[in-house]
C-alpha cells in the first residue's frame, strides 16, 4: 500500500526509519525523526524544506559525514546494493563515498582544498578509487573539466580554487564528484550561493550530465523554482520528518499537506497579483528539543482539528505515487 514498500529492482538507495539526534550538554535535538524514502536508479529526487527541517542532515546521515562528537544516527537503515551503509566500517564507507555515492555542497570554496590545484584534487579522487597512475588520473581530471564545460581545461587544471570564479568552482566540484561515475550524486543546495544566470548554467549542466551518465541525483534545495525545474519526484520535509512525497507535477498541481500548500502560496507569484499581501504561514518552526505531541505542523496549520494535536499522522497514500502525512490530506487537496 505504501509506495516505500513496493521496492522493486529499480531502487538504488532505500532509507528506512532513519533517525538522527544531536546530543548536547543539556538537551537532545531530534533532527531526523525516523524518515523513510527511496531513490530510484537514474531519477532526480528533490528534497525540499526550510532551514532546520533536516534536509542536509538526511544527506550527511546517509554518507555518515556528521560530526561524531555530537551527532548520533540512532536508528534505521540505509540500504545501498543490499548493504546497510550504517553497518559498514569506516574504511568500507570511504570506498563508497566519492566512488559510488558522491556529494556536492553549497559553497565550493569551503569544500575544495585551497593549497592544491583543482586538477590534482580531481586526480586524487580518481586515484583513490581506481588503480590509475598519476598521469592517467591527471588526464582524467582534464577530461572532466572539459565535460563540465570549463573553457581552456588544459590551463584550468593547474589553477588553484581561488583563481576560479564561484560558478567555475562549482563546475570543478561537479567534475570531481562525477570523476568516478557515481551511481548516486547528492547535491546539497549546489546553486544557492550562485547568481541566477550562473545557477541556470549549472542546473542545465547537472541535467545534461545526468542524462548522459544515468547517475541518480538527490537534489536538496529550499527553492521551489529549482525543484520544479530539475526534479522528477519530490520529498517535502518539515521539522525532521517527511510530510509529503509525490511526483513533481502532482506536488505542484495538488499539494496534499498544508505545509507544502503554505510554502507554495508564500512564494511571490505575479499570476496572483502584484503588491498584494502574500498568504503567510503563521508562527515559527517548533523546537526539536522537546518531544512533539501530534502533528508537528498543527500549531501553524489552518486545517488543524483535535486529532492533529493528539496523534502524529503517518505518511499515507493519497493518490498514485503521492503520499502525505496529514489527517486531512484529502480536504487539503480539494482546497
Amino acid at each position: 500500500m505504501l509506495m516505500q514498500k513496493s521496492a522493486g529492482n529499480d531502487v538504488l538507495l532505500d532509507v528506512r526509519d532513519l533517525e538522527t539526534h544531536f546530543v548536547g550538554d543539556e538537551s537532545t535535538t531530534r533532527a531526523l525523526g525516523g524518515i523513510s524514502f527511496q531513490v530510484k536508479k537514474g531519477e532526480t529526487l528533490g528534497v525540499v524544506g526550510e532551514s532546520g527541517c533536516g534536509k542536509s542532515v538526511t544527506a550527511l546521515s546517509i554518507l555518515r559525514l556528521l560530526p561524531k562528537m555530537n551527532a548520533r544516527t540512532v536508528g534505521g537503515e540505509v540500504r545501498f546494493h543490499g548493504r546497510d551503509l550504517l553497518e559498514l566500517s569506516d574504511r568500507e564507507m570511504r570506498q563508497i563515498r566519492g566512488d559510488q555515492i558522491a556529494m556536492i555542497f553549497q559553497e565550493p570554496m569551503t569544500s575544495l582544498n585551497p593549497v592544491y590545484t583543482v586538477g590534482r584534487q580531481i586526480a586524487e579522487a580518481v586515484q583513490i578509487h581506481t588503480k590509475a597512475s598519476r598521469s592517467v588520473a591527471m588526464a582524467k581530471a582534464q577530461e572532466m573539466l572539459r565535460l563540465v564545460r570549463i573553457a581552456d581545461p588544459e590551463r584550468r587544471v593547474n589553477n588553484y580554487p581561488h583563481e576560479m570564479s564561484g560558478g567555475m568552482r562549482q563546475r570543478a566540484m561537479i567534475a570531481m564528484a562525477l570523476a568516478c561515475s557515481p551511481e548516486l550524486l547528492i547535491a546539497d543546495e549546489p546553486t544557492t550561493a550562485l547568481d541566477v544566470t550562473i545557477q541556470a548554467q549549472i542546473l542545465r549542466l547537472i541535467a545534461d550530465l545526468k542524462e548522459r551518465t544515468g547517475t541518480a541525483v538527490m537534489f536538496i534545495t529550499h527553492d521551489l523554482g529549482v525543484v520544479a525545474e530539475t526534479c522528477q519526484r519530490v520529498i517535502v520535509m518539515y521539522a525532521g520528518s517527511i510530510v509529503e512525497q509525490a511526483n513533481v507535477i502532482d506536488l505542484f498541481a495538488r499539494p496534499a499537506h498544508p505545509y507544502t500548500q503554505g510554502l507554495m502560496r508564500s512564494v511571490p507569484d505575479q499570476r496572483r497579483g502584484r503588491q498584494r499581501r502574500l498568504p503567510e504561514i503563521p508562527g515559527i518552526v517548533p523546537s526539536l528539543r522537546e518531544p512533539i505531541v501530534g502533528c508537528s505542523f498543527a500549531p501553524r496549520c489552518p486545517f488543524a482539528i483535535d486529532i492533529c494535536r493528539e496523534k502524529t499522522p503517518i505518511l499515507r497514500d493519497v493518490g498514485s505515487s503521492h503520499a502525505a502525512a496529514c489527517w486531512r490530506a484529502e480536504e487539503v487537496m480539494g482546497a
Binding site: 526550510e50 532551514s51 570564479s165 560558478g167 567555475m168 547568481d195 541566477v196 544566470t197 550562473i198 545557477q199 541556470a200 548554467q201 542546473l203 542545465r204 529550499h222 527553492d223 521551489l224 523554482g225 529549482v226 525543484v227 520544479a228 525545474e229 513533481v248 507535477i249 506536488l251 505542484f252 503554505g262 510554502l263 507554495m264 508564500s266 512564494v267 511571490p268 507569484d269 505575479q270 502584484r274 503588491q275 498584494r276 499581501r277 502574500l278 498568504p279 503567510e280 504561514i281 515559527i284
Partner: protein, 349 residues
C-alpha cells in the same frame, strides 16, 4: 513638496586598488558608473542585478556611508554631499537602512528594546517611560509583542530579528528606507511575512523604499519601478509591469529567463546566457554585456551605449534594441516573455 524625494545624478564610485606608491596610474574598481534615478514619496524603486553589479555600493552611497567619486545625491533638492556634520546628522533622520543579515547587524549585547530606540536617543534624551512606550509602539508596528523588548537578539528567530531591524529603521519616522537584500537570508515563509510587513508600512505611513535585491520574483512583487544594473551601470529602468512583461535590454531578458519558476509544467526553451560577469577592474570596452550578448554588433564592442528613453517611458542602454535617435523609439521587441518571445530568443541564439 515638489520634485522627487530622492534624486541621484551621475553617481560614480571608483575604489582604488592599492596606494599606487611609485606608480603613475592606480588601477580602480569601477563599482558604480554614472548612475542616475529618482524616487518619489511613497514609491518603491527596486535595484536588481547579480553580485558585483554595484547595487550595494549604491545603497552605501545613498546613505553617505562611503563618499562618491562623482555625481550627486539630492534629498528634497538638497545635495547631501555638501552637508556638514550637524546638517548631515539631522538629514539622516529622513533616511534609514535595513540590512541583509539580521544576525550581524544587531548588537548582541543590547535588548530588543534598546536596539530599536537607540536611533531616537541619538537625537533626544528619553526617560525610561518614554523609551518603553516607544519600544512597545515600534514592536507593535512590526507585528511583535511588546514583551519582546527585553529579549536579546540571540533569543529571537531570524524573522523576528529582521522585524527588529525594520523597527529600528522606523524609529525616526523616515520618509525613505533603503533595504539592501532585506529578505534574502530568510526562508520563503518568513520572507512572505516580511514582504507583507513592508507593504503594510508603505500603505500606512507612505514610506518610500529603495529595495535592493537579486531576487526577481520578490522585486516583481513589491516594486513600482525597477532599475537593472550590470557591472556598475543601469542598463534598463522601467515600471515593474513593463519590465517583466516585456524586457528590452538583452541582459534583463537573460536575467528573467534564468530565474527558476515554481511551475513544473513550464518548458524552458531558451538556453541560459553564456559566460560570467566580467571583472569590474578591467571591464570590457563598449557595452559591458557585449561578450555575453547574443545580439552584439561591432558598435557594442567600442561605444558605451547611452540610456535612451523609449516611447513607454522606460530607459534602455542598448545599441541594438534602443538605438539613440532624436525621437523616442518604440521598443524593438514586441511581445512578452511568453512562448512566442522565448522562441524568438531561441531562434536568434
Amino acid at each position: 513638496m515638489n520634485g522627487p524625494l530622492l534624486k541621484v545624478e551621475n553617481l560614480t564610485k571608483h575604489y582604488p586598488l592599492g596606494t599606487g606608491f611609485l606608480k603613475k596610474t592606480i588601477p580602480v574598481i569601477r563599482a558604480v558608473e554614472d548612475v542616475s534615478f529618482s524616487v518619489e514619496a511613497g514609491e518603491t524603486l527596486c535595484i536588481v542585478g547579480e553580485s558585483g553589479c554595484g547595487k550595494s555600493t549604491v545603497a552605501r552611497l545613498l546613505m553617505r556611508l562611503v563618499e562618491p567619486t562623482g555625481g550627486r545625491v539630492l534629498i528634497d533638492g538638497t545635495d547631501i554631499a555638501g552637508l556638514k556634520k550637524d546638517a548631515l546628522h539631522a538629514w539622516r533622520r529622513r533616511m534609514q537602512m535595513v540590512f541583509q543579515d539580521p544576525y550581524s547587524s544587531l548588537n548582541p549585547r543590547l535588548t530588543a528594546g534598546q536596539i530599536i530606540t537607540e536611533p531616537v536617543e541619538n537625537f533626544e534624551r528619553l526617560s525610561r517611560r518614554q523609551r518603553q512606550a516607544l519600544a512597545a509602539d515600534l514592536l507593535r508596528k512590526v507585528g511583535m509583542s511588546p514583551e519582546m523588548m527585553h529579549r536579546l537578539p540571540s533569543e529571537l528567530s531570524g524573522g523576528q530579528r529582521q522585524r527588529l531591524g525594520i523597527a529600528r529603521a522606523l524609529a525616526l519616522n523616515p520618509s525613505l528606507i533603503i533595504a539592501d537584500e532585506a529578505v534574502s537570508a530568510l526562508d520563503v515563509s518568513v520572507q512572505a511575512q516580511i514582504l507583507n510587513l513592508l507593504l503594510d508600512l508603505q500603505q500606512q505611513m507612505g514610506i518610500a523604499f529603495v529595495f535592493i535585491s537579486h531576487d526577481l520574483s520578490v522585486v516583481e512583487h513589491i516594486g513600482h519601478r525597477v532599475a537593472v544594473m550590470y557591472l556598475g551601470r543601469i542598463v534598463e529602468l522601467a515600471t515593474c509591469e513593463a519590465l517583466f512583461a516585456r524586457p528590452v535590454h538583452p541582459y534583463t531578458e537573460a536575467l528573467i529567463a534564468a530565474a527558476p519558476v515554481p511551475d513544473p509544467t513550464r518548458v524552458r526553451l531558451v538556453a541560459p546566457v553564456e559566460g560570467e560577469v566580467p571583472s569590474p577592474i578591467n571591464p570590457p570596452r563598449g557595452c559591458a554585456f557585449h561578450p555575453r550578448c547574443p545580439l552584439a554588433v561591432d558598435r557594442c564592442r567600442i561605444e558605451v551605449p547611452p540610456l535612451v528613453p523609449m516611447a513607454d517611458g522606460r530607459v534602455v542602454a542598448c545599441h541594438v534594441r534602443a538605438p539613440a535617435t532624436d525621437i523616442p523609439s518604440q521598443p524593438a521587441e514586441v511581445g512578452d516573455h511568453s512562448l512566442a518571445h522565448v522562441l524568438s530568443l531561441m531562434i536568434r541564439s
